[in-house]
Amino acid sequence: MQVLFARHQVRVYRFVLRFVGNQAVAEDLISEVFLDVWRQADRFEGRSAVSTWLLGIARFKALSSMRRKPDEELDEETAGAIEDSSDDPEVAVQKKDKGAALRKCLQTLSPEHQEVINLVYYHEKSVEEVAEIVGIPEATVKTRMFYARKRLSELLKAAGIDRGWP
């Protein structure tokens, strides 16, 4: 359990924080996630990676928490941690910082699009694993990722960066 916790806590925390937008809430939720894992250890069938199982539980808990507290606002410290403090995309482009503009646009995507982008790029989840975590068909995973990337290109274009795609 200790090894499991040490190995996965940071990624699970970041995944949950993206949903709930509050560090204290995210920390409470990951405690609950790992407590559930401890309680349900004998139910883990090993058909998927442990990290996929963890992220699935974490997602369910984060969404449940958001439904319980829909009006909870971000505290200032957390907002600072989540929102990129860099310039908006146009200003970033003027400063020729394409990476900053891209990060800003990534944060402007819808929650669904951000989720699939983060699961694929940061959590390195396969199509099948994203489908398992989010609870959607594999074909929808590919479509959602495609439209997330397309929307990202549109946002960048609006900010003055034409990537020539799509």
């Binding site: 359990m1 200790q2 090894v3 916790f5 040490a6 190995r7 806590q9 940071v10 925390y13 970041r14 924080l17 993206r18 560090q23 995210a26 920390e27 409470d28 990951i30 405690s31 790992f34 407590l35 401890w38 309680r39 250890a41 004998d42 941690a81 989540i82 990129d84 394409k98 990476g99 891209l102 990060r103 990534l106 944060q107 982008i117 983060n118 694929v120 790029y121 940061y122 390195e124 989840k125 396969s126 199509v127 099948e128 694993e129 594999e138 074909a139 590919k142 479509t143 990722m145 495609f146 990337r149 990202l152 290109s153 990537r163 020539g164 795609w165």
Partner: protein
């Protein structure tokens, strides 16, 4: 995945580029994407866009920080509490085994052992890579130890993450072919600091070297660094 062992359309292949970049496709799909990339320079350019997105998504997530120690304290307090409640009726199966392991002393010992194992694993991997190079100028033991970087303090550097499929021998040959050497790592996210040139080259040249790394199917991500 549904398209395995079938010939995929151009649209199917394009949709798989993000997973190709992260190294999470199966061998058959990866082969088909690689063949399409070799035949279509425009598709290769779009893979560069995917890698840009991946780099920035990783940076964005890394900026979120880490949970405080309070999380672990709360978790193991809660586990301890539940164990006490459940002590009378014995648990069965894997749950019982796991619960028995979670005495405070066992937890402390396990934590220490885990840290040692993870550090040893990182050290062994890096040592294997460095030893396999057979480079007389890189006679250090592990890249995560400051003394290990003797002789490679100067030059130009990049942060590199290798694909999960890349094995030690392939990585070693690849680094040899580029006259590159791992000087530090692994860092969170599996990133290694790699010296890509022996001298401090200009920004354009460094970006060119990094692009060469990115074009390798052994590398899932490469970015210039100080």
């Amino acid at each position: 995945m549904s398209k395995t062992n079938q010939t995929m359309s151009a649209d199917d292949i394009e949709a798989l580029l993000p997973w190709y970049a992260t190294g999470t496709l199966n061998r058959d799909e990866a082969d088909q994407v690689e063949a399409a990339l070799a035949a279509n320079p425009a598709l290769a350019r779009r893979l560069d866009l995917v890698r840009e997105e991946m780099t920035e998504a990783i940076l964005l997530n890394e900026a979120l920080g880490v949970p405080s120690a309070r999380v672990m304290e709360n978790l193991f307090k809660a586990i301890d509490k539940e164990r006490k409640i459940a002590r009378a009726p014995a648990r069965r199966g894997f749950g019982a085994w796991l619960a028995d392991l979670l005495t405070p002393r066992a937890v402390a010992l396990a934590a220490a052992a885990a840290v040692i194992i993870i550090m040893l694993q990182a050290g062994v991997i890096t040592t294997l890579v460095l030893q396999d190079r057979g480079d007389a100028g890189s006679s250090f033991e592990t890249a995560s130890v400051p003394a290990a970087t003797r002789g490679v303090e100067t030059g130009s550097f990049a942060l590199v993450r290798f694909t999960p499929q890349a094995n030690i021998a392939d990585i070693s040959r690849f680094l040899d072919s580029k006259d590159a050497v791992i000087v530090d790592g692994p860092h969170p996210g599996g990133m290694y600091r790699v010296r890509v040139a022996r001298t401090n080259v200009g920004k354009d040249e460094l970006e060119g070297l990094v692009r060469e790394f990115q074009s390798s199917n052994l590398v899932s991500m490469a970015v210039p660094t100080e």
